[in-house]
């Protein structure tokens, strides 16, 4: 317990002193702001044209400016944006030890290596949850400012649940990113992996295999391609859980067993 608290304190201090949390918060803030702008445009396209927000030639044929649509957009932004930004966070939390050469100071300590790895995952989880909460909170402010119709407390509860589940599933796909940051000893491999999985998630979802591909599941769950019941099955949540467990086990094993010869 004492070692766990020490490792958690150390990891949170590193995160607090870094600029990366602010940059990821800034990046995630764009989702509700852009979503809000989109709602303004949908609400009154003629006014948006007169204000110069959109081109006179723009054709807006789909979408409704209301709370259910806006909250759905936020969940989808969490799925797609989270796949990249949560991966950046994970790559930084794990990869920095190799980039800064500090990993060798984490290996021969009374605090077990597994405890340090667990603390890193806790920081990633808390950080990701805070970003998702920021999206929701900022979204509520923006939605209220735009004056969207269709508000209800029941809707808020349901949308919060959807956004939380989307964020949790996206975070569950981070252990492979941590493993790649460790094996690749830096940032390049995990960031490359994140870009690849986002790309593949789009392709496989488009050709109808998304329910089997873990990285397609969160955006499909968030409704990116229509109602989730039509897109996902129980197997979809199983592949996400298996990816999480396999990534977690591999990362812990790698830290315990791999030669640290550099």
């Amino acid at each position: 317990m004492r070692h766990g608290l020490a490792a958690l304190w150390a990891e949170s201090l590193k995160a607090r002193r870094s600029k990366v949390p602010w940059l990821t918060a800034l990046g995630f803030s764009l989702a509700p702001l852009m979503g809000g702008l989109f709602m303004v445009i949908l609400k009154d396209p003629a006014r948006a044209r007169s204000m110069g927000l959109i081109s006179a030639k723009a054709q807006l044929t789909a979408g409704v400016a209301d709370w259910p649509t806006f909250l759905g957009v936020l969940a989808q932004a969490t799925a797609v944006g989270g796949a990249m930004l949560f991966a950046l966070v994970t790559a930084w939390v794990f990869g920095r030890e190799f980039a800064d050469g500090t990993v060798k100071d984490l290996l021969a300590l009374p605090t077990p290596r597994a405890t340090i790895v667990a603390a890193k995952f806790v920081v990633v989880a808390v950080w990701g949850t805070a970003l998702a909460a920021l999206v929701l909170a900022l979204g509520l402010v923006v939605g209220a400012a735009v004056g969207l119709p269709g508000w209800s407390w029941a809707l808020l509860v349901r949308a919060t649940g959807d956004l939380a589940a989307t964020a949790c599933m996206t975070l569950a796909l981070m252990p492979p990113v941590a493993l790649l940051a460790s094996i690749g000893r830096g940032y390049l491999a995990p960031v490359g992996w994140a870009i690849l999985t986002v790309f593949l998630a789009q392709i496989l979802a488009a050709i109808g295999w998304g329910s089997w591909f873990p990285w397609s599941v969160p955006p499909l769950f968030a409704g990116l391609a229509g109602p989730r019941s039509a897109q996902l099955g129980a197997h979809s949540y199983v592949v996400v859980a298996v990816t999480f467990a396999a990534g977690l086990a591999s990362t812990f094993t790698w830290w315990q067993k791999a030669d640290q010869s550099r």
């Binding site: 590193k14 002193r17 800064d100 290596r113 067993k257």
Partner: protein
Amino acid sequence: MSAAIEIRGLTKRYGDVLAVDSLDLHIEPGEVYGFLGLNGAGKTTTIRALLGMVRPSSGGVSLLGRVVGPYGDGPWRRVGHLVETPAAYPELTVRENLEIARRLYGVEDRGATSRALERFGLGASAGRRAGTLSTGNRQRLGLARALLHEPKLLILDEPANGLDPAGVVEVRELLGALARERGVTVFMSSHILAEVNRLASRVGILHHGRLVEELDAADLEGRRARRLVVDARDRAAARSALEAAGYAVTVDGRGGGLALADLRAIEAPDEVARALVAAGAPPLRLAVEQEDLEEHFLRLIGASA
């Protein structure tokens, strides 16, 4: 009492490369052990194996009576280490870097961080971000981290790297005092052989992954080659005279004079002087010199190669 360091048949392979080959070492508590070798000799791999950072291909390691590994287990609360270039979290202050170490080592005493800062002259830099430190101060931070938890065994890879001359002396005195007064065992690799010569009670020389020689201070004294160095105004005449007197003469690599390795010359330099005077080439300088650790090391490595 168990050995501070016990290495039994340690072998480490990286693919086809044999980094360490059947290494055996036994180091008693309180010893200062100098570990010498050229770049790539296997020193750092040995140090990493001691610290459980690499898994031996065969053989094993015990520190302070406890087996190291295979999952990073070891008596780490009693071991301090500095491996290669010291690293620190650049955006954290010097104090914060040490504070992380204090907590991860499980040191309850909050004053330990301040003491470590003062011990290595980092008090004035405590609030500075570690990323802005000079190489020497980063080395001091690495040493402060290694000593913060008052370990019984110190494993140091090039501890004098990047330090200015005053810092080198300071660290030497500190390590010497820790060994003498507190019985701390120091295992240090170094390229600065003069430092090892001054500090180590025993020296091991590693070459191509094998321990080619191990000697204590008395051994070193006995095994280091001696020679009589002679200089004269007319070196050619002096050389002819000495060769005529039956001495084997070589050119002294350092001063350009003449060197005689015969025991007969080393034990009776007056005879050499007499032969030179009689031949009309009186000596300007006549001195018995003993090779230092650096020369001994290079001679041994050269012979081994």
